[in-house]
């Protein structure tokens, strides 16, 4: 019964500050100056790192100068490699998005504006460190030099797709690149990465693991389980949270982002938590390198929140214009990762506009040539798929009788279809 002498309760349902029709406004985003935050020793106990989940590691300042103790002091060649990886990722995204719009595949997801959160960690980790990505980390495969046509074969689900057309486009798997099979179910990869890292530690190996999920996915129980196991066993793992502000149409407030930062979840677990400017490739590199050193020296896991912005829709199936302010990506106060690193390199005298646009052209040609190569193997729905019986392979190591029967049934149906010209 409602008691009339007491104040009625009210349910808080989060609401983003702008909706379609509003001008984008990020005035509430606190952007601390670059270079001011101290860089603690990577062995520092988590209890002494309490300010970091609420701070923001930034290396590149407003003039794209690298400043402060987190500057990883990368060699120009390394920075050019990072720039190229991000640009190739962007060109790849651009072409594959178009390919979906042209009906060549069913689905695509771009990483525009977030390229640094994949390409920079990939560079800071060893090539044989195991990564457990989510669905927007194509930059890792690209950074590790995985063949572009192979990625496209997967996207087209064609006859050359190593995954035999079984997975939704972009759900790659590349064991040879220490890249785990991507799941569409969210955050499942987080405890898996912890388990891999625990196994590596139990075996006295030297390789560490890293996982990625979105800020929205941190709401899943798997994320909590991952943090729990990671802290209990001091697993050599890096748990990356890509806070790109949006989970499809739900702003970060629906994942608890109104009350605290995502990096601050580390505090409750006694895990080191860093919050980094996700559009600053050097800061992302530095944070990953710090966490990797911590993991490699048996000082345990790190949770890194990458503060960034999803400049495009969630996927080709999404229309962000239906739920958020237009042009928000270009208004994002932390800028664009490609542009920031480019200006930095130019400032160092290690790059120039002419080289940049020549590289952009060259990468687009690379991607186009790769696409031509992949399309020769078929595009989705145009017949050049894997043989029908492969549908029944790899369910078990050996095919049991019930699957053999079903495979035979399918081949009989197919024979009927061919005779009758039907589906």
């Amino acid at each position: 019964m409602i008691k009339k002498n007491l104040q009625p309760l009210a349910l808080h349902v989060p609401e983003p500050k702008q909706r379609p029709g509003d001008a984008p406004d990020f005035s509430d985003v606190v952007v601390p100056p670059a270079g001011k935050l101290a860089r603690p020793d990577s062995a520092t106990p988590a209890a002494d790192l309490k300010e970091y989940p609420y701070a923001l590691i930034r290396v590149l300042d407003d003039n794209a100068h690298a400043v402060g103790p987190w500057d990883p002091r990368l060699a120009p060649d390394t920075m050019r490699k990072l720039l190229k990886d991000m640009m190739l990722t962007r060109a790849f995204d651009d072409r594959m998005f178009r390919a979906q719009r042209q009906g060549k595949t069913s689905f695509y997801m771009k990483s525009l504006g977030e390229e640094a959160t994949s390409c920079a960690p990939a560079l800071a980790l060893a090539d044989d460190d195991m990564v457990f990505p989510s669905y927007r980390q194509q930059g890792i495969l690209i950074s590790r030099g995985w063949p572009i046509p192979d990625m496209m074969n997967q996207i087209f689900s064609n006859k050359a797709d190593r995954l035999k057309g079984r997975q939704l486009p972009i759900m790659y798997s590349a064991r040879a690149a220490s890249f785990f099979s991507i799941s569409g179910n969210l955050a499942t990869q987080m405890p898996q990465a912890v388990g891999w890292a625990m196994a590596s530690a139990a075996k006295g190996d030297t390789r560490i693991a890293a996982a990625w999920c979105g800020e929205g996915s941190t709401a899943e129980g798997d994320f909590h389980s991952a943090c729990m196991f990671a802290t209990v066993y001091r697993a050599p793992v890096i748990l990356n949270i890509i806070n790109n502000q949006w989970a499809i149409s739900s702003f970060a407030g629906f994942a608890g982002g109104e009350e605290t930062t995502f990096a601050a979840r580390a505090l409750g677990y006694g895990v080191a938590g860093l919050r980094v400017d996700g559009n600053d490739p050097l800061a992302v590199y530095a944070a990953t390198a710090w966490a990797a050193e911590r993991a490699r020296t048996n000082h345990g896991p790190t949770i890194i929140e990458h503060f960034t912005y999803r400049s495009e829709g969630h996927s080709t199936s999404d229309d962000p214009g239906a739920y958020r302010a237009a042009q928000a990506g270009s208004a994002w106060p932390l800028g664009d990762p490609v542009e920031r690193l480019k200006v930095h390199l130019i400032g160092l005298g290690e790059w120039n506009e002419a080289r940049h646009s020549a590289l952009a052209d060259e990468l687009m040609e690379t991607v186009k040539a790769a696409q031509k190569q992949a399309e020769a193997n078929g595009i989705l729905g145009h017949g050049l798929h894997q043989p029908l019986e492969t549908m029944f392979e790899d369910i078990f190591e050996d095919e049991p009788w019930h699957l053999r029967e079903q495979a035979a049934q399918l081949l009989e149906e197919d024979a009927v279809r061919r005779v009758e010209g039907q589906h």
Binding site: M130, F132, N185, T188, P191, Q192, G195, A199, M228, H402
Partner: protein, 339 residues
């Protein structure tokens, strides 16, 4: 030949597996120092070390998620879920991950994981320590489901499951851990050591019972009884008390299923009664019934009968009213023999 109960047989299997392969790793709630709430892992941490047999936080999702990651590394994890009733938080990791990883990675990431879990009722465990959720897992493409009914099979099937390169759900009928159960709740349990049954004789060393091979427990000409786990013994009681010449088949493995043994028996007897403790609707008995009907229709003399638990949560005080005991099975036998 030493005689062992099912717990000792499972413990022996785990000990052999740990000694044979440095990749076998046991994890679960209370399985380490203490040795498990049913003592299935007793002594294993001391013998094989803390990094190979260890306690975990209470998160089944985490236990299986971590096991998936360990398998991706190359280990052969044997996680324990303390009671099958607690397996549901791990469902996504089992159904969407472990079961599908070989498939979705086209063989890059096989998942040699054996999930052990005590299941079934008859111990006054109430609704949270009694369930038989095998039907949840037999419905999933990519999982094997194994349920032993005696100490010899428990060890042999568990060693086969651990050696298998695919994920196996290994349900242990806890009602018969210490001795077989005739289905009458007031009969005192006779320990496996004192039962006149060769299946309580368990070799110390390594051997396997292959997955996918049923066992004809009792030959008979009148009717085929399909059962697994505890219900193999309860079916035996019903056959003995009814005087019907029943042929009892212990399926041992639900997926992959030994369809040939089932077919041969039903074609011989012309009648079939399926017995399981799990709830009825959509249970594995429905699948068995359909398979028998599809493959043995013209040999059947009577409709296939299912004897199961009721479609209710597992009750506490009314446990024995729920349990598909000898009375329920005998009524089904009578029904098929009348036709």
């Amino acid at each position: 030949m030493p005689r062992m109960n099912m717990i000792e047989a499972i413990n022996s299997a785990l000990n052999v597996a740990l000694a044979q392969s440095p990749d076998v790793t046991i994890l679960g709630e209370d399985v380490g120092y203490f040795g498990g709430v049913f003592r299935a892992t007793a002594g294993l941490q001391k013998r094989h070390g803390k990094t190979r047999v260890f306690d975990t936080p209470i998160t089944e999702c985490g236990i299986i998620g971590v096991a998936v990651g360990m398998a991706a590394y190359g280990l052969r994890p044997v996680p324990e879920i303390q009671f099958a009733d607690y397996i549901y938080p791990a469902l996504d990791q089992l159904v969407s991950e472990a079961a599908r990883l070989r498939y979705r990675s086209a063989g890059e990431f096989p998942m040699p994981i054996t999930v052990r879990s005590p299941f079934g009722g008859g111990i006054f465990g109430g609704q949270t320590h009694s369930q038989s959720p095998e039907g949840v897992f037999t419905h999933v493409a990519g999982l094997k489901t194994v349920i032993p009914s005696n100490p010899y099979d428990a060890k042999g099937l568990l060693l086969a499951a651990i050696a298998d390169n695919d994920p196996v759900i290994f349900f242990e009928p806890k009602r018969i851990y210490n001795g077989p159960f005739d289905g009458h709740y007031d009969t005192p349990t006779v320990p496996w050591a004192k039962v006149d049954d060769a299946t309580a004789e368990v070799p110390e060393g390594h051997y396997t019972v292959p997955l996918g091979k049923a066992r004809v427990v009792r030959e008979g000409g009148d009717v085929t009884l399909l059962a697994y786990g505890t219900m193999v013994h309860v079916a035996g009681t019903a056959v003995a008390e009814s005087g019907v010449d029943g042929e009892i088949i212990d399926l041992r493995t639900l997926i992959p299923l030994d369809i040939e043994t089932i077919k041969a028996s039903v074609k011989k007897t012309g009648r079939c009664v399926i017995v399981h403790e799990a709830t009825r609707t959509g249970g594995f008995g429905a699948e068995l019934s359909a398979l028998v009907q599809e493959r043995c229709f013209y040999h059947l003399e009577a409709p296939v009968q299912r004897v199961t638990g009721f479609d209710t949560p597992y009750p506490h005080s009314l446990e024995w009213a729920y349990f598909p005991g000898p009375v329920r099975i005998k009524r089904a036998l009578d029904a098929v023999m009348k036709d």
